[in-house]
């Protein structure tokens, strides 16, 4: 795995100003959007969103239903363009490089920026182990038998699923509970060691206990990856996130816009915009 990746980087990464030294004061954040807007055909779902996502940070995206949170998060790994006639304006930068630039390839971007969906979507007929190994397989990362076993154990442990499934790694993933399936999806996303992990309401289809486990998990994962999470649950946002961004639609028919962003405690306790105040207090009930 490691040799393949380092050689790939050596040959593939374009040299030049876009790859600054890691500790330069001006080093760009892992992920950043600039003036980002997204369209479905002629319908503009979001507009002019500027956000920075920092290392070791969980950023929560909150906002009313339909404001474009899912649309936004799907522009971050170029899943948005899968929708016919969908397009974007503005830019998304991964470590300072545009992921919509000429050289950038959506397949490579998605390999670098993982995603966990609202509904758990493991490959139901593949075994639990094969679900985890699908990531390396899809990316032609060759692993020995031993490395495969290690990888499966490591990411399943990281996803807090190992003890529950270690005796049935060969069983189809469709047989797991919803919460287990979602943790398997997280393990699957971790199997290729992404730079950034996007999560679109990862707990909304789950019971409270599974939700707790995934929240714990997120807390551990941020050591390693930059996390962006969409959630409707304010308590959850308060619990897991370091920063929060509030997106909303001001009047019907308008695209969703970023209202404010800041440290989570500020957003919930001392928001600077009345709209945020209203939404946050209303939702905290």
């Amino acid at each position: 795995m490691s040799t393949e990746q380092s050689t790939a980087r050596a040959t593939e990464a374009p040299p030049g100003p876009s790859a600054p030294p890691p500790s330069a004061p001006s080093a760009p954040p892992p992920l950043r959007t600039r003036g980002l807007g997204a369209f479905f055909g002629s319908h503009k779902a979001i507009e002019d969103i500027d956000l920075d996502f920092e290392d070791n940070t969980v950023t929560a995206l909150i906002g009313p239903s339909g404001c474009g949170k899912s649309t936004y998060i799907r522009t971050l790994n170029r899943m948005h363009e899968n929708v016919p006639n969908a397009r974007i304006e503005g830019d998304v930068e991964l470590h300072g490089e545009s992921i919509y630039g000429r050289a950038a390839d959506p397949v490579a971007i998605r390999r670098a920026i993982g995603m966990v969906f609202q509904r758990p979507n493991p490959f139901p007929t593949k075994s639990i182990a094969d679900n985890v190994l699908a990531g390396p397989k899809f990316n032609r990362i060759r692993l020995s038998r031993r490395e495969r076993q290690d990888l499966v154990e490591r990411v399943l442990r990281a996803a807090g699923l190992w003890n529950e499934v270690k005796n049935r790694l060969r069983a189809p993933a469709g047989g797991l509970s919803g919460g287990q399936q979602q943790r398997l999806c997280i393990a699957r996303a971790l199997s290729i060691d992404p730079d950034v992990l996007l999560m679109d309401e990862p707990c909304s289809a789950l019971d409270p206990q599974s939700t707790d486990r995934i929240e714990e998990l997120i807390d551990q994962l941020k050591e390693r990856v930059t996390i962006v999470i969409v959630t409707h649950n304010m308590q959850q946002a308060a619990r897991v996130s370091d920063r929060t961004a509030f997106i909303t639609i001001e009047t019907d028919g308008e695209p969703g816009r970023l209202v404010e962003t800041g440290p989570t405690s500020d957003i919930f306790n001392a928001p600077s915009k009345p709209a945020t105040e209203a939404y946050v207090s209303g939702r905290f009930g």
């Binding site: 980087r9 899968n82 470590h95 630039g101 397949v107 699908a134």
Partner: protein, 675 residues
């Protein structure tokens, strides 16, 4: 909890400091090999789709070019309205007019539809609403089974069983009909009325089966709504089911009509082949498809060109029927086109339920949940509540009686066919029968069908080898490749889809003649290869549509799961989409094969037939449907009919076996899913 996975790059970034931001661990560009693989996948599918289209385009071109002489000599209008057809006159110029055949085609089809559509609706209603629950499954299984019986077998039954049985009745009619001129005159053994009846019996199962599928999609809440207002079963049907299913019934009828118009073998055997316009329905006539099949053997030069022109006319008629049906279906409310298309292609693809169910579970959350399909039973009426008024009750009983009558009228001939196949066919079967060649002539007893059996198997193999890969790749092009490559490609994808739909409606006799003109003439002789390709052309659009339908049902969430892991497009297809769709594709291919293997008409133009056992794909070869036809069309002797029944039994058994396997695949994979 163990530490998270170690980096490939090794160096841990400093944490939490603005000065110590992490490094990018993965390139944003893709290795060339991976991009090339994706390109190769896109090109493979595109080439397959375009090659298939180009091949069919070439056939059409060759066919149209062949007819030039006819138009220049007789003129389009003159040819279409000419009432005389004298291909080989004793002296002078031959005369070619298409009207008698157009007339014969339309009249027989009209009789068939008039009889079949009401009965089919009755059968569909009986098997969804009126019959007791335990009987619905078995009865519709029998109807499904009959939809798979090849037309040559219906023709065989018509000529050997129905004609002799009905003859006295028809004679009585012709003597006592009084003022009904269209039923006057001598009763000939081939007649419009009998042909129309046999056609009706042939198309009834397919119309009934599709109509039933459409009824099954009537939303539960609409049925419950009707019952909640106190409706009887019949009133529920009238107010909730029929309005909803109307467009579906139109679609099903159009499909049946398309079949009836293109039907060749049964009419070649039953209509008497006399070019007539007008005249008694008890007299003989001729149809477009019939005359092409019957006169092809002795046709050369202008005569062949004129037959080809008839094929073109037939193609246009079939095309117009399909187009009209689409228009009607698209306009009418209720189910709408997608519903009908689903019903049309899902027929028999029972396994689809699986994937659809999965789709609902794991969908992307943007779709509304689909209406729960199913049929609701009326509530029991409680004693003491006001009961339904007498007149309403009488009307409901009358309607119910009519439905049962339709069911009986439909099931009697259908049952009779199965019975006769078994009664006459089974005794002929023996090991010898399967392993000896056919006898040299119609008067020699004994012999078998080994040459035809082997020929059928060889051509089925060729047809599958042609149609299955091309079909699946073309479906991938329409569904996956073209859709993902931007609006321009999507339009090409739509065009290919449209083309496939047209191909779906091309009568098999036209396919046969076309392959003869483009391939057999070029190769210089009839061959198993040409026959296999003709059958492949019949299979191809069925495989494409079945695959396309299944690919649509593969949950988007599954594709996205793979894509979000950085899977290249081809990888997503090979590792996720195709495995999920495989059972459905297999089922669809089997059903297409079952359909093609019963075709006799295209083989008359391509593989021709051969007395002896042969495995040479470049030489003429026998086939079961063609052998049955050949044994009935010239002289019928006890020996030849016995051989034909035996061959029919084997053919039907083979086709039902294929259908059974297809269903088992569907059922087995479903039980796996549900677990």
């Amino acid at each position: 909890m163990s530490p998270p996975p170690a980096t490939a790059a090794g160096a841990e970034p400093e944490k939490g400091s603005a000065l110590g931001r992490s490094e990018r661990r993965h390139p944003i560009t893709r290795p060339v090999a991976s991009r090339v693989a994706d390109q190769a996948y896109v090109w493979l599918c595109t080439l397959a789709a375009l090659a298939a289209m180009a091949g069919v385009g070439y056939l059409i071109y060759k066919t149209a070019a062949e007819t030039g002489e006819v138009w220049s000599t007789y003129g389009i209008w003159g040819f279409l309205t000419g009432t005389e057809w004298i291909p080989q006159p004793a002296d002078g110029q031959p005369v070619f007019g298409a009207l008698p055949f157009i007339y014969g085609t339309l009249v027989t089809s009209a009789i068939a539809m008039a009889l079949a559509v009401p009965l089919a609706i009755g059968v569909a209603l009986a098997t969804t609403v009126f019959l007791p629950r335990v009987l619905r499954g078995p009865v519709s299984a029998v109807v499904d089974l009959l939809a798979a019986v090849p037309s040559v077998v219906y023709g065989l039954w018509g000529i050997l069983v129905l004609v002799p049985t009905l003859r006295p009745a028809l004679e009585w009619v012709s003597e006592h009909n009084g003022p009904l001129g269209f039923l006057a005159g001598p009763v000939t053994s081939g007649s419009y009325l009998l042909s129309g009846m046999v056609l009706a019996i042939m198309v009834l199962p397919i119309i009934a089966a599709i109509t039933r599928e459409v009824f099954l999609t009537v939303p539960v809440d609409q049925q419950e709504g009707a019952y909640a207002l106190g409706a009887t079963r019949w009133e529920m049907v009238r107010d909730a089911m029929l309005p909803w299913a109307r467009s579906g019934i139109v679609g099903a009828s159009a499909l049946g009509l398309g079949r009836a118009v293109g039907e060749t073998i049964a009419l070649a055997l039953l209509l008497g082949n006399v070019p007539n316009v007008g005249g008694s329905l008890l007299g003989p006539g001729s149809t477009l498809a019939g005359v092409i099949a019957l006169e092809f053997g002795e046709a050369f030069d202008v005569h062949l060109a004129a037959l080809t022109a008839l094929a073109l006319v037939l193609f246009v008629i079939a095309f117009i029927i399909n187009a009209l049906a689409r228009l009607l279906v698209a306009r009418s409310s209720g189910g709408g086109e997608s519903l009908v298309r689903r019903a049309l292609t899902n027929r028999g693809l029972a396994g689809l339920g699986t994937i659809r169910a999965r789709e609902q579970e794991g969908g992307d959350g943007l779709d509304e949940p689909a209406d729960e399909p199913g049929i609701v039973e009326p509530p029991r009426r409680l004693a003491g509540l006001p009961s339904v008024s007498t007149s309403r009750r009488v009307r409901s009983y009358a309607a119910e009686g009519t439905v049962y009558l339709a069911l009986a009228l439909a099931l009697i001939p259908l049952g009779a066919i199965l019975y006769e196949i078994v009664r006459n066919g089974l005794p002929a079967i023996s090991w010898d029968f399967l392993t000896t060649e056919q006898p040299p002539d119609a008067f020699t007893p004994g012999g078998g069908i080994s040459n035809a059996l082997v020929g059928t198997l060889i051509m089925m193999g060729i047809a599958t080898a042609v149609a299955a890969p091309l079909g699946v790749l073309t479906a991938l092009f329409i569904n996956d490749v073209a859709a993902g490559l931007g609006p321009g490609f999507r339009r090409i994808g739509d065009a290919v889809g449209f083309f496939v739909d047209i191909l779906l409606g091309v009568p098999s006799v036209v396919v046969g003649l076309t392959v003869y003109l483009a391939l057999v003439l070029a190769m210089g002789n009839f061959s198993a290869l040409a026959g296999g390709i003709a059958l492949g052309i019949i299979m191809f659009p069925i495989v494409v549509r079945a695959t396309d339908e299944i690919l649509r049902l593969v949950p988007e969430a599954q594709r996205e799961a793979a894509e979000a892991l950085g899977a290249p497009r081809w990888r997503t297809t090979v590792s996720v989409v195709l495995p999920a769709a495989a059972p459905g594709i297999l089922t669809g291919t089997m059903l297409a094969l079952a359909r093609a293997s019963g075709e006799a008409a295209p083989l008359l133009f391509t593989s021709l037939g051969w007395q002896f056992l042969s495995t040479d794909v470049l030489a003429p070869i026998a086939a079961l449907p063609q052998l049955i036809f050949a044994n009935m069309v010239d002289i019928q002797t006890p020996e030849s009919t016995e051989l034909a029944w035996g061959a029919a039994f084997v053919l039907v058994a083979m086709i039902l076996f294929l259908n059974l396997i297809a269903r088992l695949i569907a059922r087995f994979t479903r039980s796996l899913e549900v677990r």
